[in-house]
């Protein structure tokens, strides 16, 4: 390289400054979340909020963990999230394969256009008719209603992500396998999926986060506390007459932490997976 050492050093320094600034920006709300969660009530409501906790306590956590529906909400969210991810992945793999290989058929093209269109439909506007459909199908107040809704709204993006991934797989690979008498399903399982692992991981992470974060459908479709998911559950913590920020923040910490850990573990795949998807566009 021809650049001088000094300009390289400056560049490096700049990079660090930028990254540290970003990290603070990203982390600060968490830090504050954790600090609030560890404060006793009178310190939470102090008019001079400080970083130092005079009497750190786990009371908020214990309270949320044992005396509220948090654990139930968490389990429900986990179940719905995993199930919706699996289901949308299953469906998206099939449709993405079709989209990447058979775009020449008019029907396939139609499906791809409808998928783009469905992305433009605000879920708010479908709320009431969907509620009625769910009721007619007997899905109301069951996790199936959420499963179906989340799957539908994640299929398009999952499909597009996977489509671009699959398109980058040379068709010759398939032809060879086809020669061996593989069925299409067998071919997908044996040839396509194994080399698409990063794409699958990033797609499923995406689907999972979507389901994990969703608020509105969970809020309206589920009335039974034993079936309620995390996000509407958290909004319940805002309470009736006063807002108990200590509990809200400790519940937030506990709901975010597991996913953060999962992500940090799988983030390598996320970047790899998006690479193939993104670069092709």
């Amino acid at each position: 390289m021809v650049e001088s050492k000094r300009s390289k050093l400056v560049q490096k320094l700049l990079t660090y400054v930028v990254l540290v600034a970003f990290s603070l920006f990203c982390l600060f709300p968490f830090l504050w979340m954790v600090i609030t969660a560890l404060k006793p009530t009178d310190e939470v409501r102090s008019t001079r909020p400080s970083f130092f906790i005079e009497n750190p306590t786990f009371d908020n956590f214990l309270h949320v963990f044992w005396n509220t529906g948090f654990l139930t909400y968490f389990k429900n969210s986990l179940f719905v999230g995993v199930a919706a991810t699996a289901l949308s992945l299953l469906i998206s793999v099939l449709s993405a394969y079709a989209l990447s290989r058979f775009m020449r058929f008019r029907g396939v093209k139609l499906v791809s256009v409808t998928m783009i269109l469905s992305q433009m439909v605000p879920p708010v506007l479908l709320l009431i008719p969907l509620y009625i459909i769910m009721m007619q199908l007997g899905f109301l107040n069951t996790h199936i209603s959420l499963l179906v809704a989340y799957t539908t709204f994640t299929i398009p993006l999952c499909t597009f992500m996977l489509t671009s991934f699959f398109s980058s797989i040379p068709i010759e690979l398939e032809e060879a396998a086809e020669m061996d008498g593989c069925s299409k399903i067998g071919l997908i399982c044996r040839v396509i999926l194994p080399i698409s692992i990063p794409g699958l991981v990033s797609t499923s992470l995406f689907a999972f986060v979507n389901a994990w974060n969703e608020f509105m459908f969970g809020y309206v479709f589920i009335n039974d506390d034993s079936l309620r998911t995390l996000t509407p559950g958290l909004s319940l913590f805002k309470g009736l007459y006063t807002t108990d920020w200590g509990s809200i923040m400790s519940a937030s910490v506990m709901s975010v932490l597991p996913v953060v850990i999962l992500f940090l573990y799988l983030q390598k795949y996320l970047v790899e997976g998006v690479t193939a998807g993104a670069v092709k566009g």
Binding site: V2, L27, L117, Q119, I128, A278
Partner: protein, 315 residues
């Protein structure tokens, strides 16, 4: 031996081409069928009912009524007091959010693409906001922004930037802007990850060649990096324009569109019509209008792309 087999296969396939094609078609349709069914039941059918309702006088609580009223609902929506404001707000909310997200996203991606120590850790940290549920992000920032107990106000006052605590979410001038910042905070990591991935796939030798030609880092960014990121960026921005424009929960969790409708966007207005004023006809008309705006926008974009690239590129 091998040659003859290949020849056989070729002639075979040529002979069977029509049936092969039919079979492929069957398979293709079978594969897209599940996705299509989901779409039909969960999106298309409700959508049709929304469009149907938009032409009818339908109230959520007296379902017996429901006569055809033509375009009356549309007229009422457009004439309604806060429509123009909500429309403008939606524009501001979408454009400022997406622009901010893109700028932060690309800066973070460029920094992360450098070969430095601790890159993985920084990358991990920067992804975090994106995993936070909107409700949690909204609640946390609301908590940080409260005037009396909020840490941000307390700091700004201590630093002398504010004379007294300011209610960011409670003032018509700053409510929407505050939510936009929170939205940017939560959404920019997605850009970063995607752009980072794209950055890493740009061959290094292009840069080296440019450096040899004496082009500085800034020049390289504009001459090489940006053009290389163009297609990814367009897809990213397009997707996020849609997602942001139709986003409901962020604003709902933080201000419910207030104070005095100053942070109300079209989706919030739809919800207000439907769930608070219980007027499904109006809500549906507004929803249909919004859908129409978006489709028109994208059609125009699509046509523009088509014309620009001749007939070369599809989506």
């Amino acid at each position: 031996m091998r040659v003859s087999v290949e020849k056989d296969a070729e002639s075979l396939s040529r002979k069977r081409r029509p049936t092969r094609e039919v079979k492929a078609k069957q398979i293709a349709y079978m594969f897209v069928l599940p996705a299509f069914l989901f779409f039909l039941v969960i999106v298309a059918y409700p959508l049709v009912s929304v469009i149907w309702d938009s032409f009818h006088d339908k109230n959520l609580l007296n379902t017996g009524d429901g006569r055809f009223v033509g375009l009356a609902n549309y007229v009422e929506v457009i004439r309604s007091e806060y429509f123009v404001q909500a429309f403008v707000n939606t524009g501001i909310w979408t454009i400022v959010s997406v622009a901010g997200e893109y700028i932060l996203g690309i800066v973070a991606a460029l920094a992360l693409a450098q070969r430095i120590r601790g890159r993985a850790i920084f990358r991990g940290i920067i992804i975090i906001p994106w995993i936070v549920p909107v409700v949690v992000a909204g609640l946390t920032w609301t908590w940080m922004l409260t005037p009396d107990y909020g840490v941000l106000n307390s700091w700004l006052v201590k630093l002398g930037l504010l004379d007294e605590p300011y209610y960011f979410l409670g003032e018509p001038d700053t409510a929407l802007l505050s939510i936009i910042i929170v939205n940017i905070w939560r959404s920019f990591p997605f850009y970063t990850i995607t752009l980072l991935a794209a950055l890493q796939s740009i061959p290094r030798d292009i840069y080296e060649a440019a450096a040899l030609d004496g082009i500085g880092p800034v020049g390289r960014f504009f001459k090489i990096t940006l053009p290389q990121l163009k297609s990814v960026s367009i897809v990213l921005i397009m997707i996020h324009i849609i997602w942001t424009a139709i986003n409901f929960d962020f604003i709902w969790v933080m201000t419910e569109g207030g104070p005095v409708h100053s942070s109300e966007t079209l989706p919030i207005m739809i919800y207000r019509f439907a769930m608070q004023e219980l007027n499904i006809g109006l809500a549906s008309a507004l929803a249909s209008l919004m859908l129409a705006f978006m489709i028109i926008g994208f059609m125009m974009y699509y046509l523009y792309i088509q014309r620009k690239s001749g007939n070369r590129g599809g989506m």
